[in-house]
């Protein structure tokens, strides 16, 4: 017992992996510098938080000059909102490498705080940003991993290929049958709901994900509108979200959007998400009115993507768990 606890001051990552982290960060900065993308920093602490029901923000409090009676502050789950305010203010294309914080997330691929690389490109649609994402990621891994040319799969193609259903037309009964075909035990909380997005996530996490990014980058794109998040919708039947995700070795690495710029639509989505939060008994959060003002002022046409840097290091180093690539993960923090 004594031996076990006396080693707890040590990092879980080897020095070799920490050097790899530093090297990759340097390469990323060189990549963006060469393309004229500006590095920025935005606040970790914010008076507003994401309304996304899938994300839980840490909450803290500031008391002192300016707020003598105290002010609730949220730790950001991503730097998206202030970065969009910079874009609206005329920053041009920007990137940021920062720690983000998500309550309730800890596991083999999750740590409550982790490093995100997020960047926005003016004038890019989702496809152009996918191309650039591959141009960044492939050379970063080139010396460790031999990868074939990237593939792009629509969300529909991936579901048709791996779970034999159409994610845009399926009903809960269809999802249930697909789950049974693939021997997935169905959580009882899910049975009671008509939440098709949660059913798709069940199939995605249990069956589809492990098939993606095998020996190559796989971009999943054109998401169902109900999972648009902050992406704009593309006209069509059904309308699909201009959203993509990058997978490698079955691991979700990045999430990108052709960014929604319509302030009215954004407020509507915030309100809908607040309703879902309330119905699920999640804490209410303060909506980011400053983002909405920025969108009203005008967000330039752009696409943005956030990439989990620690997971990239996991793949580059062959780590099985995220703590192997962090100096001090939550159990040693």
């Amino acid at each position: 017992m004594k031996n076990k606890s006396s080693g707890i001051w040590r990092p879980a990552a080897t020095l070799e992996v920490l050097k790899l982290r530093a090297r990759l960060l340097e390469q990323i900065r060189t990549f963006f510098s060469a393309r004229g993308v500006l590095e920025v920093e935005t606040p970790v602490l914010s008076t507003a938080a994401t309304t996304d029901p899938a994300l839980a923000s840490f909450v803290t409090r500031y008391t002192g000059p300016r707020f003598p009676h105290g002010q609730t502050l949220y730790l950001h789950t991503s730097p998206e909102f202030p970065m969009k305010r910079l874009l609206a203010a005329g920053s041009g294309s920007i990137y940021q490498i920062c720690k983000v914080f998500r309550d309730g997330e800890s596991g083999r691929r999750h740590n409550p705080e982790f490093t995100l690389l997020e960047w926005y490109r003016l004038g890019f649609d989702q496809h152009r940003l996918m191309t650039e994402t591959a141009e960044l990621v492939m050379p970063l891994l080139a010396s460790m991993l031999k990868l074939d040319a990237p593939e792009r799969l629509t969300y529909r193609e991936a579901f048709q290929r791996h779970v034999e259903i159409d994610p845009h037309t399926s009903t809960v009964a269809d999802y249930m049958m697909a789950a049974k075909r693939h021997n997935i035990d169905i959580p009882k909380d899910l049975l009671a709901r008509n939440d098709t997005a949660a059913w798709r996530d069940l199939l995605l996490t249990h069956v589809v994900e492990s098939k993606l990014g095998q020996g190559r980058l796989t971009f999943l794109y054109d998401y169902p509108a109900s999972q648009a998040s902050l992406a704009r919708l593309q006209p069509g039947n059904p309308p699909l979200a201009a959203r993509f995700e990058l997978y490698l070795n079955g691991i979700e690495l990045a999430n990108g959007f052709h960014e929604l710029s319509d302030a009215k639509e954004q407020r509507l989505r915030f309100d809908q998400q607040l309703h879902v939060r309330a119905a699920d008994g999640m804490p209410a959060v303060t909506v980011d009115e400053r983002l909405l003002l920025a969108l009203e002022h005008g967000l330039p046409n752009c696409s943005g993507v956030a990439l989990g840097f620690d997971r990239l290091v996991m793949i580059a180093s062959g780590a099985r768990a995220i703590e192997e690539v962090m100096a001090f993960s939550i159990d040693r923090a």
């Binding site: 899938a54 999750h110 959580p187 949660a198 998040s229 989990g308």
Partner: protein, 187 residues
Amino acid sequence: MATYSTSEFKAGLKVMLDGDPASIVENEFVKPGKGQAFNRVRIRNLKTGRTIERTFKSGESIEAADVVDVEMQYLYNDGQFWHFMNPQSYEQLAADKNAVGDNAKWMKEQDVCLLTLWNGVPLIVEPPNTVTLKIVETDPGLKGDTSGGGGKPATLETGAVVRVPLFVQNGETIKVNTRTGEYLSRA
């Protein structure tokens, strides 16, 4: 009724599953960045010994099982039950055939066994990893063994049959690994 939320899941946690006590073997948290979180759990039914996979929506709760592991000394078998005593409290418990199962062949009086109790009743009885037992029957044969196994069967005082080297004789005591059923050495 005590419950555990998915946040409390970890290997070794004892929970109720479909009315049976079960032990979590492995717990994996999976979650798309902007999606629903799940706990994928491998879980062993302590009554049947079967391990299955279950998925919970993160945040769900599951009933706790009143299961504890205690070390107890094996006293005797009355033909139906195996009787054990807690060496600290002198409390005695009887385990039935379901709990002892195949491990009966390793059970020797005075040995300290690990008992898994559910609501105070023995559910699983595990003998020590290594037991020292006397050979009651084995061929005297020394040379000319052509079985290829490089050994011979020996019946032990508890009824277990293990393969032993040719030089080991009737009446000797030997050490045996109960997990693999393999001879380790002369005692």
